[in-house]
């Protein structure tokens, strides 16, 4: 083994290193071990029986500065930093603002070791803390609080203002951390709740900390300074303490009446605005923050950089957090259960994504113990959702236990509750997880639909599955209401459409896969539309049947009155939940319109992508014909088709069409580029018109289940319009380019067109393709 310069340095150092004496329970085996190890063959590893080399992947290499956090600690000057040294008001302001920025970094998913733990003041407080709140001070020993001269401003600011602020930050993180450890939030992805063995004042009452912060803020407000700048800084420090106190209060009063919380959140947002006025007065104390803290934490991780964000960005994030929390309170204003469900759905698709803490609160506060708002059971939510969609006979949900189908229906409802709860739970996930979980959920809903179909086709359910008249041409022998399976089918279709569109939003599909995915989502939307049409027909037929029976009963009652016969008790009209019909009709109209808009845009996109394919700008995935090697099989179009549609493979209805069908339907042989561009433009213009018409439906009765999301829907439609307009501009650009049809990719397209996908300011489901010409 060659001796390197480092080795020599190490050897030299080793002579001077003072080692601890051998403990009596240990024995020095250096020589014995060295001798035995020397017998090992070169390149051979001797391992414990149960150990495998793969286990050592996470092992940290000691003395390697990139891996060993201990080296950071040994080389740092942190030990010389005196936390009890007096600090000027400007420096205190700096430390507070840095802590604020680091805290917001943590809120966006960074580790504590890279954020607030890097503050040496925080480290000192946490090291001093022995479970007793009095030990939270900047003194050397936990049991020995420093004596403070109240008249010395610098000392006062350090030991009161900064101390209480830092304790407030720790407690806020503690309260948030506990909320983040919930089902809807993913460790390491959304948030890092690891505390590295330190106690974040878990058992210190937030009330005590609030009192300490408020007392400090009050005292500072009473202090005056002859210098204008110092006075401004003091005001800034008091503002920061007040903001911290209000933030803490919002977290303590999570169960308080919404109106009160709303005021607190608004106050937080307003107060945060004032921070930037004084931020510029801060004087930096860079030594108060050190990455070497990681070398002193119980942490089996390599060193990670300190993650701070610009102060303005931190304030923006803080306001986003409080706005998100304040927005959640609107759920209490719901009119129907459907409003809450719509809120959850819109929340999941919001842009920008809500912060993990807000998402955790949606799950913790509004889906508490499997109940919406802690009171509406999942059964009620399911019944309401089914009623809104199909207005079935009310007796369907009140079947007596003596009914032969009771047990089967009960099983269905239990399964439906579970599925619906999972559906609402995934709405608080991050977008990637949302898509992933939806892929799993559609299987559950597929099974639920199968159960519903079995129940609804069973002879016991004959009273609920009457054959509706008016459809003599129906080959299946008439139209059945099938409310349960229709509902499960609708929900499943909606999730499937989301999966594909989220694929576009998350940039999962490459441009050459766009034709396939657009074609597939168009197919799904077509089926959804047919399903809505069917539901509308069912509701119409049932309503007609109901009215017919009502007329008959009225006539019979009149006859009885004329004959002065005792009036017979009216037969219960139980074809349909007639009171729910207007809501269902409005809901179906809106859903159909939305589906149609999506479909039109999809068709527009499909035509445009077809143009790109015809012009040779986008090459369809090459098949085995072009390169018959075994590796080419991995990229064969059929395999790509199967891989991309794999999540939908196990779904029985709608089944994934065979590859041949796709080939047949996506054949572009009879199309020309100008015709396709015309078609694309027509579809997009059509969609635009429909969006404008839909926007005019603003009366409350038009907005079924949209009371809480009216504003969000308007924004979404605006983005849809932007996408349409953006794509129209792209179409014009393509027309100007006068593209010619490529002859199958053999000849190079003379003009190279650069395609970029733009997502910002457009509807997330419909990113806009922007074309630029590269002359060669």
């Amino acid at each position: 083994m060659s001796t390197t310069a480092t080795d020599l340095a190490d050897e030299a150092a080793s002579d001077q290193v003072k080692l601890r004496p051998v403990v009596s329970s240990y024995v020095d085996i250096t020589d014995r071990f060295t001798a035995e190890a020397a017998k090992i063959m070169p390149g051979q590893l001797v391992m414990m029986e149960s150990f495998e080399l793969v286990n050592s992947i996470n092992a940290l290499e000691i003395m390697d500065p990139k891996m060993d956090t201990g080296v950071l600690n040994l080389r740092s000057n942190d030990a010389n930093f005196d936390v009890s040294a007096p600090r000027s008001p400007q420096e205190i302001l700096y430390i507070m603002d840095e802590l604020f920025a680091l805290e917001m970094s943590w809120c966006t998913g960074c580790a504590l070791s890279q954020t607030i733990y890097t503050c040496l003041y925080i480290e000192h407080l946490l090291n001093n803390f022995n479970g007793v709140q009095e030990s939270l001070h900047f003194g050397t020993r936990a049991s020995d609080p420093p004596s403070i001269d109240q008249n010395d401003l610098d000392q006062f600011l350090l030991h009161h203002a900064l101390r209480s602020y830092a304790i407030g930050v720790i407690k806020t993180c503690d309260l948030m951390r506990r909320q983040l450890q919930c089902k809807g939030i993913f460790e390491e992805e959304d948030a890092v709740t690891e505390t590295y063995g330190l106690d974040l004042l878990q058992f210190v009452s937030p009330g005590y900390i609030l009192a300490v912060i408020e007392a400090a803020a009050f005292q500072i407000e009473c202090k005056t300074s002859s210098s204008d700048t110092t006075q401004q800084v003091l005001t800034g420090i008091a503002q920061r303490l007040n903001l911290r106190a209000t933030t803490l209060r919002t977290m303590m009063l999570a169960e308080a009446p919404p109106a009160m919380l709303q005021q607190l959140y608004s106050a937080c947002i307003q107060m945060a605005d004032t921070l930037s006025e004084t931020h510029e007065l801060a004087v930096a104390v860079p030594t108060a923050f050190s990455m070497a803290v990681q070398g002193r934490l119980e942490c089996g991780m390599p060193p990670r950089p300190l993650l701070e964000m610009p102060f303005a960005k931190a304030v923006e994030l803080y306001q986003q957090l409080q706005t998100g929390m304040s927005d959640l309170l609107r759920i209490h204003e719901y009119g129907s259960i459907g409003d809450i469900v719509s809120y959850f759905e819109h929340f999941a698709l919001r842009l920008p994504d809500e912060l993990p803490y807000v998402r955790s609160q949606l799950h913790q506060q509004y889906l508490k113990d499997g109940r919406l708002l802690g009171k509406t059971t999942m059964r009620e939510a399911v019944i309401s959702d089914i009623t809104d969609l199909c207005s079935p006979m009310p007796s369907l949900f009140e079947i007596p236990s003596s009914h032969p189908a009771y047990a089967a229906l009960e099983d269905f409802y239990v399964q439906a509750e579970r599925c619906f709860e999972s559906y609402l739970t995934v709405m608080s996930h991050n977008k990637c997880r949302l898509r992933q979980r939806l892929c799993g959920l559609i299987l559950d809903w597929n099974a639920l639909q199968a159960v519903a179909e079995t129940i609804e086709s069973s002879p016991e359910m004959v009273q609920f599955s009457l054959v509706l008249q008016g459809n003599p041409d129906d080959p299946s022998g008439g139209l059945h209401p099938l409310p349960l399976s229709s509902w499960a089918y609708y929900r499943k279709l909606k999730m499937m459409v989301w999966i594909v569109f989220l694929g576009f939003e998350l940039d999962i599909y490459k441009l050459d896969e766009w034709p396939l995915m657009l074609w597939y989502v168009d197919y799904l939307l077509g089926i959804t539309d047919t399903h809505f049409k069917r539901l509308e027909t069912v509701v119409e037929s049932m309503t007609a049947l109901h009215q017919q029976q009502q007329q008959q009963q009225n006539t019979a009652a009149k006859k009885n009155r004329k004959k002065k016969q005792p009036q017979q008790s009216a037969q219960k009209l139980d074809y349909i939940n007639i009171e729910a019909v207007p809501r269902t009709t409005m809901l179906l109209t809106r859903l159909r319109a939305e589906t149609e808009i999506f479909r039109e845009i999809c068709r527009g996109y499909l035509c445009l992508v077809a143009v790109l394919t015809l012009a040779g700008i986008v090459n369809p995935p090459r098949g085995a014909q072009t390169s018959p090697s075994s590796s080419a099989l991995r990229t064969s179009p059929e395999l790509l088709y199967r891989i991309r549609l794999k999540p939908f493979g196990p779904i029985v209805a709608p089944e994934v069409p065979p590859y041949e069908t796709y080939l047949q339907l996506s054949d572009l042989n009879n199309w020309t580029i100008p015709a396709l561009l015309d078609n694309a433009q027509m579809s997009l213009n059509g969609a635009q018109k429909m969006v404008s018409q839909l926007n005019k439906l603003t009366r409350p009765e038009h907005l079924v289940n949209a009371k809480l999301v009216g504003e969000s829907m308007t924004k979404t439609r605006l983005l849809l319009l932007r996408s349409c307009i953006g794509m129209n501009v792209s179409i014009m650009r393509l027309r100007q380019m006068k593209l010619v049809q490529s002859d199958g990719g053999e000849r190079e397209v003379k003009r190279k067109v650069k395609v970029t996908i733009e997502q910002e300011n457009y509807h997330p489901f419909f990113p806009v393709l922007v074309f630029a010409e590269n002359e060669q």
């Binding site: 403990v23 240990y26 070169p42 414990m48 201990g70 040994l74 930093f81």
Partner: protein, 108 residues
């Protein structure tokens, strides 16, 4: 048999180092730190893999952490940085008994 065994790699040569496997060790490095953990693997250059290891700072080093041990998890210590290796007597004895038991075919 004798011929066969002579053609095999000299397994028995490093058999003795196995007696240190899974033994609790205190490894002192050239910077004065000590790492206490269970030996999982080693090689000819005395590169050690310790699991569930903790770190103690050098004697007299001023740190904000104080004198406490710090958990660092699984670590690999390059042989060139090792100054001294101490083994827990109890752990050595337990390992010895285990190896004897295995060689006798006993189930422990």
């Amino acid at each position: 048999m004798a011929d066969e065994s002579s053609s095999l790699p000299p397994v028995a040569a490093y058999e003795n180092v196995k007696e240190f496997m899974s033994v609790l060790m205190m490894v002192s490095t050239t910077d004065g730190r000590q790492f206490c953990g269970t030996l999982m693997a080693t090689d000819r250059d005395r590169n050690l893999i310790l699991s569930e290891a903790s770190e103690q700072l050098p004697v007299g080093f001023q740190s904000r952490r104080g004198d406490r041990f710090r958990y660092v998890g699984m670590i690999a210590i390059p042989g060139k940085h090792i100054l001294r290796i101490d083994a827990s007597k109890d752990s050595l004895k337990a390992r010895e008994m285990l190896l004897k038991g295995v060689s006798r075919g006993a189930i422990i």
